[in-house]
Symmetry: C2
Subunit: 217 residues, 2 copies
DNA sequence: TGCAATGTCGTGAAATTTTCCCGGTGCCGG
DNA sequence: CCGGCACCGGGAAAATTTCACGACATTGCA
């Protein structure tokens, strides 16, 4: 009995690579491919694959959101995230969203195949490098933002990273600019950063600020 | 007569994809692969391929630097950059460093093959989406940082994005903290951003701040 | 050669922001 | 009922940002 697989990645040449590696493995068959989260969701519902291999950074709805939706549709869906991001933060997000595995693209092909088999067998598969990252982040205890911050603070952080001025945020939140400024200061304090620049870099590390490319002109 | 190719990408599964696509093309032969810039440089010197297909974001010395070094070693080297980055800024950097082509990974395989052929034929190959980006950035005239900033200002910008405090930068530059603060202010003015957060995002867009992952713990 | 333009560095003082401390509200769990 | 916590903002001190200005060296050009 062969397992059916749905490939999701916005880079066609990369999908070509997945397919080539997986084809060599008996018992696996790629039956569909998607190039963004929305398409992945649609295809999942129509082809019902045994396993989804999903990239994270994609246009439109990202990989994490796609994982969430698919799992919402089918609580038993087996999704393996396969991405370039070597940050523990991304892995945590993906797993929390419902992924059964997380493997980085720097891993050798064997690791991917192994993870595919493990997830199909019902196991959770995390590639060694991310295991290590996670262990480190436990030890060093980097404050993972989402945990140490209250919902309101987190909201302000998101807006700070996205919107522009304190005033605009105050506007959208219906509070005084003063409060936003206070929160801004408190956030930096809680996260242990001294400047806004460090703040952005922290957000980048932790995957709060996902977008690699932004609306350019 | 078949053209020899050196593949450079830190993701082995992705290289698998390149190879699979290129193999289908008569007259092309992949004779070596590298997983980072330094290895690419070494291999180029020993195998002297007709063409290099190079990723940009790699550990250690990045793709742009690798392009520069290879071109320094062999002024006639034909290098095609093949990357996920859809920013005009990256393309400009790559071309200035000596690349003969720039194709994004979102492009269909045919585009890659076409670009390979073009570069081998001595032409410059830019994928359509980047062409468009470049056109846009010309029209909107986003100030491309490196141009509008003086060398000193650019240096301070780099340090701001990397180092931490104004004091530390003043230290390394042997100037007064006051001057650094002045420059900092002037830079934001010249680039037309209001906050440090916008500044970081601009730097991200333009590839001044390349690092997706940073020293964690 | 003279001289205007530009980059670089610094000072000082005003304007603004950040930070800290405070009081007040409402909500929950013991 | 009380203590803790999230949340909202005021006030004032502290720090930073910003602006205006001067000085110096270098460059390019008439």
């Amino acid at each position: 009995m062969t397992a059916t697989i749905l490939l999701v990645d916005d880079h066609s040449v990369v999908r070509e690579g997945y397919r080539s590696v997986l084809q060599k493995q008996p018992g696996l068959r790629v039956i569909a491919e998607a190039s963004d989260g929305a398409e992945a969701y649609r295809l999942f519902k129509s082809v019902a694959p045994d396993l989804v291999i999903m990239d994270l950074s994609m246009p439109g709805i990202g990989g994490v959101e796609a994982v969430r939706r698919i799992r919402q549709w089918d609580k038993a869906a087996k999704i393996l995230v396969f991405t370039m991001h070597e940050n523990a933060g991304f892995a945590v997000q993906a797993i929390r969203a419902g992924a059964r595995g997380y493997v980085t693209k720097t891993s050798p092909p064997e690791t991917l195949v192994r993870a595919v088999m493990d997830v199909l067998a019902g196991k959770i598969a995390i590639s060694p490098d991310i295991d290590h990252e996670l262990a480190l982040s436990r030890i060093s205890g980097e404050d993972s933002a989402a945990d140490v911050l209250t919902p309101r603070e987190f909201e302000v952080l998101r807006l700070l990273l996205a919107e522009n001025t304190t005033e605009e945020i105050a506007e959208t939140l219906h509070v005084s600019p003063k409060t936003v400024a206070n929160l801004h200061s408190l956030i930096k304090d809680k996260l242990g950063v001294g400047s806004d620049i460090e703040l952005v870099r922290l957000a980048l590390r932790q995957g709060i600020l996902t977008e690699p490319d932004l609306g350019e002109a």
